[in-house]
Symmetry: C2
């Protein structure tokens, strides 16, 4: 039992607004409670009634003699606060607020919801909703839905009430049953994570489906959901993909992040399966109820027709399921039992006149001879002369028992004649579809989930911590802010990266010719000198850059010239901070240079995201980038992320070129993730280009150089 068992399995329920009058919401809730066979105490609350549906009624919550776990509130919004206060006084544990008219209507509703939250929080009462349909658990139905969901092993949680009523109706017709059926409403207190954790503990549930429009707290989700994923598969349809992240973003990284990447990354990280459409959600749900894992990626197709076999092979490629390569031994064994016109290769085409026995032979041979390579079978059945679909269905059930480590999914392609075989399979918890493509789509998702289950848990993952001089960094930020800037200057970013152990050309800000000469001497020649002014963006256009400075005298002179040029050619009123003196990167010692971009943007739900990809002036057009959340981000994550870009192949070394310093690059990425995790005030960061040279086997020279970095701090101090 989870922490909210008082909510999902309460010992007593009160219904504020309970009614004996047919058609009233307060009546429907009572009818549902009774119809669900709820075993606990039921207290209808109604000032005008003495008894409702056979339950003794009370005038107020406070009059109820015993303790109350859950109070369901079905009165109008304006009366809810008073009821909530009584819940607090009565020490009720949870309040399910069915009433609408809160945050979702805006205006006064927002204030009303805030007040409700405050009362409940202070009074230690957990709040579900408001603006929800109620919930159905294995022990209780306290919704106002007009029909009861059939019993099944799917837990469905929805942020939209209308989605729940539609699905309830649709599920009845499609023979889908539920263990839990929960309306999240406005998620003012109890949110999707709380309830997922709860139903993950429910022995009646084999798979958890969610329809979400938002995630309340990304960090909580990432911290807590992975543990539930190891117990039950979680499948989420997240809508609002076209609206999210539409806020204007000024940086490369922000512009490249797109709308919905962060949710994809977060779900992947947490091990959650993401459904793309409503029918996908239930196709996946049905397959996942089998509660079997898949050991491997390669499947054999057993079909009684060629065409569907080809369609299925295409779907394998589309969804990344492997076509098992059958051994010669298997193929020989198949040839012995199959007719001549059959195909003993995968797809195994046992041809149109195949009786059930031929399916059985194909199963036995493939699963026995190629036990190590074949993770399972996709069985295709078309209605032809001798097909006997019912018998084939029974055979699949039998084979499922005979080979418990193999996964069997089937497409019984047809209508009338396939109803009975589908029922046989579903009754045995075996997945069956009308067409091959959704079967393969769902199988591929289960393969990925099986891999998630096999990987080490995110919770136990530890991330190495680099020691850095935090005081110095705070000082740099404070100085910039004192100066009225949110964009750091080059010598500031250079110092930050040096502190974080990232190679960036050392840079110093000189405010006089003498200082410039001194710094040039310190940094070693040649150096570059550039005007420093928040108002001057294109420095070289106004004569504000001097390259290849090789002596004290040159540095001295360059300072004066740059300042004069900037004064003369720069924008009017530009504040000249001085001239930065920077080490020049000596390219001549390297044989290969790849321009990369590494950056950071922040998602409102999921926090900082690291970006890596092909850099240079065309980075925004080439769009060869990959993202990853900075949450628990290590070198393996960085490498996997890098491999999602095309430029990674170039880094690996193509056309006879040496391998680039990939380790150096991913080291920068993980150091950067620590930086942005520890300093949330860094809202955007771009390194473009981050130069990546060939691997430095002797370690004498750096393999990467962050030659141009832009760091933007948040506006708030």
């Amino acid at each position: 039992m989870g922490k909210l068992s008082f909510l999902t399995n309460p010992t007593s329920v009160a219904v504020v607004g309970a009614s004996a009058q047919d058609g009233k919401v307060g009546n429907t809730v009572m009818v549902n409670i009774r119809a669900s066979g709820y075993k606990g105490q039921v207290y209808p609350i109604n000032p005008k009634a003495t008894e409702i549906l056979g339950y003794k009624a009370y005038k107020s919550i406070l009059e109820v003699p015993g303790e109350i776990d859950v109070v369901v509130v079905v009165i109008p919004a304006k009366a809810v606060l008073a009821a909530a206060k009584e819940c607090v006084e009565k020490h009720a544990k949870a309040l399910i607020c069915i009433a609408a008219g809160f945050k979702e209507i805006g205006g006064d509703g927002v204030k009303l919801e805030a007040d409700l939250i405050e009362i409940c929080k202070k009074g230690n009462v957990r709040l579900v909703g408001p603006n929800c349909l109620g919930l159905v658990t294995p022990t209780l139905n306290c919704t106002f839905a007009s029909s009861q969901p059939s019993k099944g092993s799917i837990a469905f949680l929805s942020q939209s009430g209308a989605m729940l009523t539609s699905i309830l109706d649709w599920a009845h017709t499609n023979g889908i049953g539920f263990s839990n059926f929960i309306s999240l409403g406005n998620k003012a207190d109890v949110d999707e994570v709380d309830l997922v954790l709860e139903v993950a503990e429910d022995p009646n549930t084999s798979v958890i489906l969610l329809y979400l429009e938002s995630v309340v707290d990304g960090k909580k989700f990432l911290e807590q959901i992975p543990a539930s994923v190891t117990k039950k598969p979680i499948i989420i349809l997240k809508s609002g993909t076209s609206a999210a992240g539409a806020a204007a973003a000024s940086s490369h990284t922000g512009a490249l992040a797109g709308n919905d990447i962060a949710f994809d990354l977060a779900f992947e990280k947490a091990g959650v399966v993401r459904a793309k459409t409503m029918s996908d959600l239930f196709d996946l749900g049905r397959l996942f109820t089998s509660q079997r894992m898949i050991n491997g990626r390669d499947f054999v197709i057993i079909t009684n027709a060629g065409g569907p076999g080809i369609v299925t092979t295409d779907a394998f490629e589309t969804y990344g399921v492997g076509l098992a390569k059958l051994s010669d031994k298997t193929k020989d064994a198949l040839r012995k039992v199959l007719p001549e016109e059959a195909s003993a290769k995968n797809p195994v085409d046992i041809v149109g006149d195949a009786p059930p026995k031929r399916y059985a032979d194909a199963f036995d041979i493939c699963f026995t001879e190629d036990d190590k390579t074949v993770a399972g079978a996709v069985v295709l059945v078309t209605p032809q002369g001798q097909t006997q679909p019912n018998e084939v269905a029974k055979l699949c059930v039998e084979m499922g028992k005979k080979y418990p480590s193999k996964f069997i999914v089937s497409a019984f392609m047809g209508g009338e004649t396939m109803i009975e075989p589908c029922k046989i399979l579903r009754d045995a918890q075996m997945p069956v579809f009308a067409f091959p493509e959704p079967a393969i789509y769902a199988t591929s998702a289960l393969i990925r989930y099986s891999e998630v289950r096999a990987r080490p848990s995110l919770a136990s993952k530890s991330i190495p911590h680099f020691k850095v001089d935090d005081e110095r960094i705070k000082k740099i930020f404070a100085d910039a802010r004192a100066d009225g800037r949110t964009v750091l200057l080059s010598h500031e970013t250079s110092e930050i990266f040096t502190i974080y152990g990232v190679n960036a050309p050392r840079t110093k800000l000189a405010t006089s010719p003498d200082e410039a000469a001194k710094f040039a001497e310190e940094l070693k020649y040649p150096v570059v000198m550039k005007i420093v002014s928040p108002q001057i963006i294109h420095k070289s256009d106004c004569g504000g850059v001097k390259l290849n400075i090789k002596s004290k005298d040159e540095a001295h002179k360059a300072f004066t010239e740059i300042m004069e040029n900037a004064k003369k050619n720069g924008p009017k009123g530009a504040v000249l901070k001085g001239v930065e003196v920077q080490q020049m990167v000596d390219f001549s010692v390297y044989s290969k240079t790849v321009e990369m971009i590494v950056g950071v943007s922040r998602d409102p739900t999921w926090g900082a995201m690291i970006m890596v990809g092909q850099g240079g002036i065309y980075a925004n057009y080439v769009k060869d980038v990959a993202f990853e959340l900075s949450y628990k981000y290590d070198k393996a994550d960085a490498l996997a992320q890098l491999k999602r870009t095309k430029v990674s192949e170039i880094l690996e070394g193509v056309r006879g070129q040496p391998r680039s310093d990939i380790e150096g690059l991913i080291d920068v990425m993980v150091r950067l993730s620590q930086f942005v995790n520890e300093y949330p005030e860094v809202v955007e960061l771009d390194m473009n280009p981050l130069l990546v040279f060939e691997e430095q086997k002797d370690g004498k020279r750096p393999g990467v150089a962050a030659v141009d970095v832009k760091i933007t701090l948040s506006g708030e101090h």
Copy 2:
């Protein structure tokens, strides 16, 4: 009526192998003919019967008194040739060969099919099949399917017989009817194009669906199908995407072409809609039977629930349907009739308690006030308190009549309660779905089809022809072949492009240091020198390239060095033909250079494809390329193709750079398409890089230069 009306609407049918015995294929065919209410003459052919199912039987085709249009052959394969000969003798017009055991089983079957084709061709008998199920047309069912398809307006043609039987069964259960139901079998003579042309003329048919594993003749398809597309929408599920084009390809272009691009391009060019899955095929078919076109791209969503509205908005973005921007006038009018908590923006959320009247108001306001911008409405209905789904369905039908130029598609989301409203809509030929996503997917396809219908026909498109010296080109090919080469050398490609009006640096092949020096002098300095060897692909990798040669002496020396480097570093046994001396492109006169790749590969079905994209040594890794068929390829095609690449933005000019010579680039592309269309022996061609400079407004200098071209001829002479 089409050319094959004697096949689809015959005046007489003979059945060779007709049988009175229940369970025999020859009996099922006879039963189906009779059950289909066929009005013409029926001649059962059976040496042992005098009468079958009430029809007078004949011992052989030759004994039949009248003329025969169609002979259906249901006897075993080995007896088919004799029957075919009798068909010829009797001057029958068509033979439908249901028997299997031909090409599809390999071995002897291949020969048998070739013999059958020859007999029919010589005897002027059109052949359907072999290895097919037969066909159902509005006048006749001569299949051996175990049930009759329901009447409807979908024509379904399938290359897989099992797919037909599955779909037939499935369609019964799902209330889908057919006008034509045709099994293509082995397509030995009558192919998919012949039959599509035929059913496109059928007034009973509103949409044509095909399941194909191959297209017999790509050119015929492209020439003839577009005319049918202007009569009826054609939707194809083409399988075998993972197998096609898997043949090893040596060039950049070949490697980048991938598996299945050519089919996508050909279907797009012909105006055919491509379905990706079996359920997509029928989702599209159902929507397209409405026989309405869509005028525009922007839709309004009218929904009684927020969640499904968001899901639908996401689907709009996924499938490229526009969310209509409602005018202020519309929004004001909506606000007047809608309750306060409703949303007057698109999606128009008329909230959960919406009665049918509220839907009606939303329709009227949006379609009247925003008549110009709103192409139609997506109606979402979830089962809530006052919903009355039946009434809303009737309203949709009424609105469809009231606004004939608007397209209305709906998702009635539910099960039991939505069966009757769905029936109401389907009976009125209005598309309805259970979930929003397939509704939007299908709508987007109809939008594209409506655009196809509005565009000029492919048949009427004329392509300009450049005059070239064909004799000289043939001579270059012949010389290369005489030399035992299929890969042309640089001086040969340079000449070909000069003939075709494409700017390529002049190149000469030197075979001695002295000759190199002489050519260098002729071509004017500076020159580039490169090793010429059919075995050396990446010339610079082995030290086989010297740039910027400025004198006779340097050229002399470079020849020797290049030959030595190639000998030392090149592949063992490489044949060194000499060193090419090439004009060096003077980059200094240009301010912008973009390296592009332009190439050609050949698809076995669809012929030459032009490729364009980002060039350079990393082209194969960057994979920023787009393809187009060279069939009827003009500058507009080339420009549209170019715009599908990311690099096209860079050509347009970003970051203050000038626009590149895009016209010069597309000119090269269309000239190239003429070249490869006229010389089918050119199997592969790569220009990488094709340098594209900034627009040359004065026209004095070329804006493009094909500095490295590889042309491969076919092995056959």
